[in-house]
């Protein structure tokens, strides 16, 4: 097991990981009689890439929805930056600095790429309607700063060439990237990615992996991701939570998880010698 002191740990590739940003304590989530998540606890540390994996229906997406406030668990606590988080609605969680993407892409299809990315800055705008109407003072400064940040992220994710294209016309792979840009532009303290590589071909997957690593490296963003593709997860993530039927069956570095017998049985299949 990793050294889980207050100060964090050093990853295999030499990155320093900080203290705990968010801690899930004994989370249980039910839909009627169905238990989607059963008494799960884990933590997320500053600057790490944390993966949640598991077979279909294991409760991974539900877990992400708990973190982002789309679901409220019946039992357990979410500790965010040292204090217990009260029941919150998704927009409140977003305003706390937790950004996310969706498994089935949720973009504003009728708006351009730039407009989509700019919506990610809405919570950084404080100017009053009056200021905006006359385009003076704060309104102007904010708009310029927000636009700069948006352009920076657009450059970073290499989507400059489609800045003015309505998102509805883009192919799937690019849409995924725009969604990442919109989440990233809000300068989140935690970035949640729900199957960022689902439905992509090998080349697109490689691109997306590179972007995820670059984001983490360049901005030091803490990333929590759900992914099906085992190879990708093992390459990308620093620590992995493995879920099966709503329960946690493993937690640790990719190497540790890979050698965990329960995980092998449940998810990776029994090895053929």
């Amino acid at each position: 097991m990793l050294d889980s002191t207050e100060e964090g740990y050093v990853t295999a590739d030499g990155r320093q990981i900080g203290g705990v940003v968010m801690e899930m304590r004994n989370i249980t989530l039910r839909f009627g009689g169905v238990v989607a998540i059963k008494d799960i606890s884990f933590d997320i540390r500053e600057g790490e890439i944390r993966a949640i994996i598991g077979p279909n229906g294991a409760g991974k997406s539900s877990m992400l929805n708990v973190i982002s406030g789309f679901y409220n668990p019946q039992e357990g606590e979410v500790i965010y930056r040292g204090s217990k988080r009260p029941q919150m609605r998704p927009f409140q969680v977003a305003r706390q600095g937790i950004a996310r993407t969706f498994q089935n892409i949720a973009l504003f299809e009728g708006m351009t790429v730039l407009d989509n990315v700019m919506t990610g800055r809405l919570n950084h705008m404080k100017a009053s309607l009056l200021d905006q109407a006359f385009w003076w003072g704060k309104a102007q400064r904010e708009e310029v700063a927000n636009r700069q940040k948006a352009e920076e992220i657009i450059d970073f994710l290499e989507i400059q060439h489609i800045r003015k294209t309505p998102v509805g016309r883009l192919p799937y792979g690019l849409k995924k990237r725009v969604e990442l840009a919109r989440a990233l532009v809000s300068e989140p303290s935690i970035l949640l990615l729900d199957e960022p590589m689902a439905g992509m071909n090998v080349e697109e997957k490689e691109d997306m992996s590179r972007f995820i690593l670059d984001v983490n490296d360049e901005y030091g963003t803490t990333i929590v991701l759900i992914e099906h593709d085992m190879g990708v997860v093992m390459d990308l993530s620093d620590r992995v939570v493995v879920m099966d039927y709503g329960k946690k069956i493993g937690d640790g570095t990719p190497t540790e998880v890979r050698s965990n017998q329960e995980v092998i049985d449940a998810y990776l299949g029994v090895a053929h010698d």
């Binding site: 409140q92 504003f108 299809e109 708006m111 407009d115 919109r182």
Partner: protein
């Protein structure tokens, strides 16, 4: 120039100006439909209510006067003051804001995620409720609307056209001011939607609720905002139609005139509402002028609907509506 052509020009201009009035009503529908997917049957009644409130405030009437007199045995009808038009309009805007907050809080907040038909039914209920409230608050007599808009024939146009064609066009000043005010209103709405934070949030909610939540937009806030805007548009439409034909119950039926405009222009497009209104206004005026006399006249009552039906066959999404593509 032949007389017929000159008459046709006059009819066209008047038709276009009428179309602006239709567009004003249609605009209110589009705003709410775009942002929340609700087809707001109550839009016409909102125009009636807004106009009644404006007149009531202006004349210093006591709201719920009848009710108060009935219960307490008093005999109050007027406060005894008159409110200037501009102040009365601002107060009416505040009333429409309060209406938006209440509608969201007591009706649509509880219906989030329901089928469109259920939301539609709710707006039908809302329409009758609001009609009742309007009656109870201000009474049901016909009122004159006078907010100081110019009325009557425009002498300048009359003189100028007489100079050119030897025939003076009859263009009503009220129609001209309606067109100017509508243009300002639409310009303002578009600027608001495009360039302000609130407008951006509004467009985002119109497009995708889930995505809007994930970037930290409070849906309730945006919906209240949209209902307020629709209330303001209803107020403007109410002022225009009220100045033209008096504030009375039939004002709420102008909503029916907006339906063919929406089918033509598309339910989701602000420019569509404008162009649709203009086409319907001009089309029905020209049709009445050219074909009307052959078939006994009064074609204005049905022409718009027939035109809308023809459009439904060839372009079900309307002229500017978003294309409906569904994958199977």
């Amino acid at each position: 120039m032949p007389d017929q052509l000159i008459f046709a020009m006059e009819v066209t201009i008047n038709g276009l100006l009428n179309g602006v009035m239709y567009a004003l009503v249609a605009l209110g529908f589009v705003l709410i439909f775009k942002a929340s997917g609700i087809f707001n049957y109550a839009q016409g009644v909102m125009a009636l209510f807004a106009a009644m409130t404006l007149v009531g405030i202006q004349q210093g009437r006591v709201p719920f006067g009848h009710l108060i007199n009935e219960i307490f045995g008093t005999d109050v009808h007027y406060f005894g003051w008159e409110v200037p038009a501009l102040a009365a309009i601002l107060l009416t805007v505040v009333v429409m804001l309060a209406f938006a907050v209440l509608v969201q809080k007591f009706v649509f907040k509880h219906l989030v995620g329901q089928e469109p038909i259920i939301l539609f039914m709710a707006t039908i209920g809302l329409a009758y409720f609001l009609e009742g409230v309007s009656d109870l608050m201000w009474g049901s007599e016909i009122r004159n609307m006078d907010v100081g808009l110019p009325q009557g024939i425009n002498d300048a146009i009359d003189a100028a056209t007489f100079e050119i064609f030897g025939y003076g066009f009859f263009i009503d000043n009220l129609d001209i001011s309606a067109a100017i005010i509508a243009a300002i209103l639409v310009g303002g709405l578009i600027a608001f939607a495009q360039y302000t934070k609130q407008g951006r949030a509004m467009r985002a909610v119109a497009d995708d609720h889930q995505a809007a939540l994930s970037v930290g937009i409070k849906l309730n806030y945006v919906w209240v905002l949209v209902w307020t805007l629709a209330g303001i548009v209803a107020l403007v439409a109410g002022i225009m139609w009220g100045s033209k034909s008096g504030v009375q119950f039939s004002l709420s039926l102008i909503a029916l005139k907006a339906l063919p405009v929406l089918m033509l222009g598309g339910f989701t497009s602000i420019p569509g509402a404008i162009v649709g209104g203009l086409i319907i206004g001009m089309g029905e005026a020209l049709f009445e002028f050219s074909i009307g006399p052959m078939i006994g006249g009064a074609t204005e009552n049905w022409f718009a609907y027939v035109l809308a039906l023809v459009f439904l066959v060839f372009r079900p999404q309307g002229l500017f509506g978003e294309k409906i593509i569904e994958r199977v």
